[in-house]
């Protein structure tokens, strides 16, 4: 009984892992689109955080499902943990540096006409 479950799982695993990797890649592209579309530095930071969190999580989950051994899974878990600990620190450092340098964020409702580059 257990063996059949494992067999099914092993047959299913590569497909699920590849699907998760694909979704993670699509999310990274969506984050990039957001970075290109949003009007100013601070809002672009928000779009980049999609890539930071969900895209990275799904990609690492996919890699863990495709991993050949358990040791690789542990290493991927450690990578994920460090990403989640260091990601917000670097985002905060960027935002704080921009704020300290006197960059004013665009406030209020923004439409298409406000977008784009200067």
């Amino acid at each position: 009984m257990i063996e059949t479950v494992f067999e099914y799982w092993n047959a299913f695993r590569p497909a699920l892992g590849s699907a998760l990797l694909l979704v993670g890649a699509i999310l990274a592209v969506i984050g990039t689109i957001g970075v290109l579309r949003f009007p100013d530095f601070y809002t672009r930071l928000h779009a980049a955080s999609v890539t930071d969190t969900s895209a990275a999580t799904l990609a690492i989950l996919g890699m863990a499902l495709l991993a050949p051994s358990f040791a690789v899974v542990i290493k991927l878990a450690v990578v994920w943990l460090f990403l989640f600990l260091t990601g917000p620190t670097s985002s905060h450092a960027l935002a704080n540096a921009a704020h300290t340098a006197g960059l004013q964020p665009m406030i209020g409702r923004l439409g298409e006409s406000d977008g784009g580059d200067e």
Binding site: L27, D40, L45, H46, A47, I107, G115
Partner: protein, 164 residues
Amino acid sequence: MGYFLGLIVVLTALWTGLSGEYTLTKPLIASLGAISILLSAILAYRFDILDREGSPYGRIVQLMLYWAWLLVEIFKANWVVIKACLRSTLDINPALVKVKTGCESDLARTVFANSITLTPGTVSVEVEGNKILVHALYEDSAGPGAFDEMDRRSREASDGKGKA
């Protein structure tokens, strides 16, 4: 002493996981691992960073539970930002708000500010005393009371329920 032992346990788990030496059949590699773990722990002690921030493993269960709750929040917030990225006409409402926090200790305040940054759509820009300057992609996602639950949970996870 508790911090020292906690650090030893976590470093041992990390070394075992990364090296893949679960059975300890190779004495040379195992002893090298033990030496490196002890050396790191002693260096941390000599640097005087073995306190509740350098080794916060006494509250690991509470912090892990908080982490699990935060993951759900992150994925909910991700959905909002993804929709904002893909909407055919750009429609965002960014705002800069001051959030008051009830977190007393530096650890709790760091956990809270990092949680805000980690959640897509909100970034903590500056921490001044018990106020955090937050930039949000949508004004209503950072309105009054929006961070109350996160504030309470991060405070309870890092400082315990006793202090309020």
